[in-house]
Amino acid sequence: MTLKGQILAADGTPLKVKLAQTNRRRRLRAIWLVTPLLLFVGITFLIPIADMLFRSIDDPVVNRLLPETSKQLESWDGRGLPPELAFDSLASELRARRADQSIGKLASRLNFEKSGMRSLITKSGRKLKKIKEGPFKEKLIKIDKKWKDRDTWVVIKRLSSPYTGVHYLAAIDRKLDSEGDIVFQPEHRQIYVLLWVRTLWISVAVTVFCLLLGYPVSYLLATLPLRISNLLLILVLLPFWTSLLVRTTSWIVLLQSHGVINDLMVVLGIIGEEQRIRMIYNQTGTLIAMTQILLPFMILPLYSVMKTIPPSYMRAAQSLGASPAWSFFKVYLPQTIPGIGAGSLLVFILAIGYYITPALVGGQDGQLISNFIAHHMKFSLNWGLAGALGSILLASVLLLYWVYNKIVGIENMKLG
């Protein structure tokens, strides 16, 4: 039935409308089915990530406790001393904070930025109690000469914004000096750049080792008769069935200086009693243990890609005159690239954020960035810095994902 060129359904509504209706109904039903999962993912995954991102730039203390002063300092250009009004509002707000007992928190936050601020704030608060009348500029300076120091005010002004980038600067060993320029942290406090480089290098190394070790195994898995390859696959998956902790501690048993491997080498006379090799509580330990633990994540995607490559390709290449090695590099290897890509991406992303293994077997120089994130969350309670480190980690994973998508195409990814 057509009406003015429009096709109608049996009940007279235009067919297009009808189709849209049915499709919408089907879509709604699909959404309804996945709602629990969406909620779960939202609550347990997206909200914490958003919270982490927020904390990494969140710095509300000064803005909340010195609102009027913050406003006054906004218009100050940082040269000379701030206007009289700023002194006045600071004085009244300090008095108020002393009254509601939040002055300690304020002092701590400022002291974190510049040492000596704690005593300055508490002292000024105490003394201001008796001073009722302005103008406060001279009186404050009389209380402490530091109020005449421009740097004191620069620190307050810098913290007066509710948002801050200092955690990100700290995450790459930088800070703002009193001129507002980005400079290096003092030498003895520089650790994060080193950590980033180490995390990156260990992740790359683990990925490369996994690839080198996993590729031949996957090839065997894909080409051996089914019965044998199933057995081999079970061996590959066996680590998944043992707890991560058990595996990591068994590496300690094996690798420590009085562990199985060293003992064996001493007994066999390969090394002397005094030459026991340090294989654990350092980067070597981290590398070995992480490679073993992440190996299945390389093997499975590779295997699933290789399984789909019929042996006749290699035979065809050889029948066309290519040597086995040439056939491998020109015909087999290119077809496994989606597997290599997926496996490497997976291993690298897991490695870059790996925590438990480096914590247990890494010793001093085998610690990775994730260990420091944990440290800041549990011990130093510097959640802002932890958030910044975490956000950078997240961003680098996303960047990697994007690069992978550009090069291999995410739709080519095979994960098993």
Binding site: S319, L320, S327
Partner: protein, 365 residues
């Protein structure tokens, strides 16, 4: 090929076992002539692919020697044999374009790029795929992929091309067209082809000679017409084309003919092909198109009465199933010529055939 005939491939006493317990190929002796189209035909599991793989070098022979162009090749690795091969699943490299697939064997041989381009263009023309060079294999239809596979096996001018059921995946119509095209390419290039199939029609239409395989043994090696009309044994008679079978006991030998007493009674005169002494069992084979219904009196030595059981109209002929000499599945093809007899189901008629058309063969099954 008649006067340039010489041997290109020679299998000499070749045996093959995969598991050390059973012989998949038993003592194979087979010569492939230069320029011929030889087909290996046989049921599934008869060892055809195994033979091809040994020839291509992917499976070692357990015993015996294979010669290519007079030289033993048992120790030559596959990539040095210079044998083109077409695989059943085509095995076109999916990450390369058609042109790259075709230039692969040329680049391996270090030809310069101008020559490579020329040859690729020529071979694409040969398989009627001009302009498809830039496509990926998965952007081609099955038939087109098939052609590319054939072209790739030929582009480096091999002496010998092996094809393992290359048309197995195609539908019937395309299959017939490709049979014709491959046949033409073979005739034009003069290349030697060893072809594997289990489709007897394909074997009959394409080949110069056919080797019928069963259980690792070549049952008969002959031209298509010989194979169909003069099968050497009952396996070949049964496997190639349709036939009626009678079993019985030899009662008399007389020059090239013999008389056979049927198990169900009655005496048949047959051509003596593959029978032993008087008193031994034999099985006779008779093609359905060699039987005449209600023949004139005295025309044939063998005339039997039978009941018409079923008639199937097939246009050019009427397939008639009858019960004759105790055989319920006796088949006759009655040509649909003007004035042919019109049979009815249940009718009792006479069937007659020549002594020469009824071949007495071995009794095996």
């Amino acid at each position: 090929m008649a006067d340039t005939v010489d041997t290109l491939v020679k299998f000499s006493k070749v045996q093959k076992s995969y598991d050390g317990e059973t012989l998949v190929i038993k003592n194979l002796d087979l010569d492939v002539m230069r320029g011929e189209f030889l087909t290996m035909l046989g049921p599934s599991g008869s060892g055809k692919t195994t033979c091809l793989m040994m020839l291509a070098g992917f499976e070692p022979a357990t015993h015996g020697e294979i010669y290519l162009d007079g030289k033993p090749i048992n120790d030559v690795p596959p990539h040095k044999r210079g044998i083109g091969m077409v695989f059943q699943n085509y095995a076109l490299f999916p990450h390369m374009t058609v042109a790259e697939n075709l230039s692969f064997p040329l680049q391996v041989r270090n030809l310069d790029s101008g020559e490579v381009a020329d040859r690729v263009k020529k071979v694409l023309g040969m398989v009627q795929l001009e302009g498809f060079g830039g496509r990926r294999p998965n952007q081609l239809s099955g038939g087109q992929q098939q052609r590319v596979a054939v072209a790739r096996a030929l582009v480096f001018d091999p002496l010998l091309v092996l094809m393992d059921e290359p048309l197995g995946a195609l539908d019937r119509q395309l299959r017939e067209q490709m049979q014709y095209e491959i046949k033409h390419i073979h005739e034009n290039l003069g290349v030697t082809v060893v072809y594997v199939t289990h489709d007897q029609g394909e074997a009959l239409t394409m080949s110069n000679r056919i080797a019928v395989f069963n259980e690792g043994v070549v049952q008969q090696l002959a031209s298509p017409d010989d194979l169909y009309e003069r099968p050497d044994n009952s396996f070949v008679a049964q496997f190639v084309g349709e036939n009626n079978r009678f079993s019985g006991k030899v009662t008399g030998l007389n020059g090239n003919s013999c008389t056979v007493e049927l198990d169900v009674g009655g005496e048949v005169h047959a051509l003596k092909v593959n029978v032993g002494e008087v008193g031994e069992k034999t099985q006779m084979s008779l093609r359905p198109e060699r039987v005449e219904v209600n023949p004139p009196h005295g025309k044939y030595q063998n005339v039997f009465e039978g009941v018409v059981k079923e008639l199937i109209y097939l246009g050019d002929h009427i397939r008639t199933r009858a019960s004759v000499c105790g055989q319920d599945d006796f088949v006759v093809k009655v040509p649909n010529s003007s004035g042919h007899v019109h049979l009815k189901e249940g009718e009792i008629v006479k069937f007659g055939w020549k002594m020469e058309d009824c071949r007495a063969l071995d009794a095996k099954k």
